[in-house]
Subunit: 465 residues, 2 copies
């Protein structure tokens, strides 16, 4: 592989570095917190800002509304024979609180120790912005970008992407693509970039049990009343085998796709330091399902967690009450090919089958998202890895994320895009959703480099030389 | 048994009925809610009101302070050879809320359907007041009360009786008594009065488990993090066998005194309608320990209840968090001869023995009270039963209450009083602690009658005739 012809990209990126960073700071100054309904103007401003940058690159497009925050959709057509890339990003950010834990104000981007500190620097304004600058550098160097490109940016990712999901269904025909590109994930570690080949899905639900008409006095009724907290504890304890960590809900593992030995071996080679991770989490050792490594348990295996539970008196002191109601919020992370709806039904059946006579159970679906997985032999994944190796100077790890990015599965499944490239430019410790969120300028530059190389590879520029 | 010599009592009570009720209404008008720190004046007024009534009966006494609400202690000495009765009552009442559920204002006593409606009418002003009027009638008819009497009234029963417990220890020598009399309990049903021969004790504690340094993201850490809610559910589920209802904590049943067959048979004869009770509580059937009737389970058997539990996210919607902390409030009702401190230690040991490695548990004692039991062959209990049969025209049931009146066990144990007479004048449905609390005038009269007869019997008046 001749790398020399990418030198022009790299030099351009170095040359423009100061301006690129300043421009990103402008973007980060817009306080687009999507959970705050009073930030409508910031949402519009963000969308306009993105659209303006794309128009400067000769994209045609506009701002669309599908109920909530504006959606930017812009495109450039090159030729019928070129592949079509769909680049997705979100411009909304998490709330900035707790404010007093920020060393510099969240919406006044500050450069410190080689990084830009601001809310959204990493998630997802900074990572998304790498695409805009890669396109700019590419166009400047090569004169033309020989790809069909669609850029889709939304402002509701942090609150569920409802408008975009609606929009996807409306505009399905216009969004037909070959390759789906998104950077809203993480590198493996501070030195090792990553190609994320899959995300776990999720199903989230709430159980409320009612054993009696109302709470009763434990002196007068203790011994004859059925305690809802006790029934719930018994039920929750039956969901999982505490020894092996296996989930005991019939049907839960039925659709789990076996993982290739090759992928398990690759994971093993990442040398995930379980003891160090346990220590950093304040645990003596990591927990979980027997028969799998920690790396496997947190990525390729499904899980079950009680996210919250409550019953009876929870104030200060004591109240000798026998609770009539008890509730729990539960979620399961799903792996291919588990389906949220079917898994929810398994839980409902399990609950119904394990209740004492006369107990009423309300099991309510909260939300779900499908797991996603890149096709294992996708040549584009290989091209992405080669590009990243050039851009970062180190080969990326292929990982599966244990988390769920709802909109990624929505886009992939709704638009049936065959190729999925999820490239993490942020370090795990960059503080997405936390105070002092930041993005390293060097990572930003390496990401832009990688993307320029990738555009060359995807357009067949290298082969044509 | 010649009942005719009690006719004079009964006639006097009938004659004075109007005045007795009016006077009780005056007492009920004083809004002595002990949990409201702004009601200090009402507390003083209540204590003064009681002391004035006692002084009119030639009692000597005064008002004492031991930290909180005033304590009334007054006495009359008859002779060294006469038995000494300690009559206990409390003048403080529960808060009146929810106010809008009262048909008439809680501190404006109202007569309706033969009952006095007011906060405290039943618990405990009305029931305690029967003693004051029985003493008045008795003295008027017999000229003298041939008993040594101590009346002890406090104003903190509804908030834990702390001052009185302090006072008991200070004045132990002055409070030496032979018979302890209190009416702060219930009749068995609206037609059947009751002699309560025992109360369950209690131990109440709080458990907090911590599995990790902080809550974690269920996507990124699901599979390796130890969920505190899960560990707590497992632990709570192990406390009791859900099939048999037996408490599985080693040592829990060790000191439980076997119940005499005679007492179990007597309970059986009460014909407690389990199906009707279940229906009224909104249950298909009553729950509890196998091998015991409902009446036994709620009175002579110890119990265990989760009074509250909480962990993780309990707000609206969902948050995919793995909780690092989970808590529960737990209480056990105890029977003779279980001791709160020893039982607490059993639970602590059980918790310590059932935790996964690395989990921290904080098990905190909240409060405890000893169970109490009347001596089974106490001749005074028989005399009380005979007196009640005369006063009410129906024999009382001998019952054990499943509840706990902390101060009763404190008084009995601190002062080591051999005889305990707990006589319930209020009907179970009289609404203690609830809106529209009331006390039937006919029950009030029958109680005063019963007490006059009892004073005759305890003083040996009948034998002397």
């Amino acid at each position: 592989m001749d790398k020399t012809n990418h030198t022009e990209f790299f030099e351009d990126i170095d040359r423009c570095s100061g301006r690129y960073v300043e421009e990103l700071c402008d973007f980060l100054r817009i306080p687009g917190v999507s959970s705050d309904s009073g930030r409508g103007r910031a949402m519009e401003e963000s969308a306009e800002w993105i659209l303006e940058k794309l128009r400067a690159l000769d994209f045609r497009g506009g701002i669309h509304f599908a109920g909530g925050s504006p959606i930017v959709m812009a495109r450039q057509e090159y030729s019928r024979s070129a592949p079509t890339l769909l680049i997705y990003g979100h411009y909304d950010v998490q709330p900035e609180d707790p404010l007093d834990e920020w060393k510099s104000p969240p919406f006044e981007p500050t450069l410190r120790d080689g990084a830009i500190y601001a809310r959204g620097a990493n998630d997802d304004k900074g990572q998304f912005y790498t695409y805009l600058k890669a396109l700019e550098t590419y166009k400047r160097i090569r004169g033309v970008i020989p790809l069909n490109l669609i850029v889709l940016a939304e402002g509701e990712e942090e609150i569920g992407s409802k408008s975009l999901m609606h929009f996807l269904n409306q505009k399905k025909d216009q969004l037909h693509s070959d390759i789906f590109l998104v950077s809203d994930s993480s590198m493996l570690s501070k030195d090792i970039p990553a190609v994320t080949c899959g995300f776990r899905g999720i199903v989230s639900f709430e159980i409320t049990l009612q054993t009696m008409a109302k709470d009763l006095h434990s002196g007068l009724f203790g011994g004859i009343a059925l305690n809802a907290a006790e029934v719930l504890s018994d039920l929750l304890a039956k969901l999982k085998d505490s020894g092996s960590g296996k989930i005991l809900v019939p049907g839960f593992y039925e659709d789990v796709r076996p993982v290739a030995e090759q992928e398990r071996r690759a994971m093993e080679q990442l040398n995930y330091d379980e003891a160090a991770v346990a220590k950093s989490l304040g645990m003596t050792k990591l927990s979980g399902e027997r028969g799998y490594s920690a790396m496997e348990r947190k990525s390729i295996r499904p899980t079950l967690d009680i996210n919250g539970m409550w019953s009876g008196f929870t104030g200060e002191g004591s109240k000798t009450v026998i609770p009539a109601r008890a509730s729990a919020k539960i979620s399961a992370r799903l792996v291919p090919d588990q389906q949220p709806d079917l898994i929810f039904q398994c839980f409902k059946d399990f609950v119904a089958g394990h209740l004492p006579a006369g107990v009423k159970a309300d099991v309510r679906y909260l939300f779900g998202a499908m797991p996603v997985l890149a096709e294992i032999d996708d040549p584009n994944v290989r091209l992405a890895a080669e590009s990243i190796e050039e851009g970062f100077g180190v080969a990326p790890a292929f990982i599966r994320s244990g988390g769920t990015i709802h909109i990624i599965s929505e886009i992939k499944n709704t638009l049936k895009i065959p190729s999925m490239l999820i490239l993490g430019w942020g370090r795990p410790e960059n503080g997405s959703h936390s105070p002092n969120e930041h993005f390293y300028i060097s990572d930003f530059q390496k990401a832009v480099r990688s993307l320029c190389v990738l555009f060359d590879k995807l357009s067949g520029h290298e082969e044509k030389r």
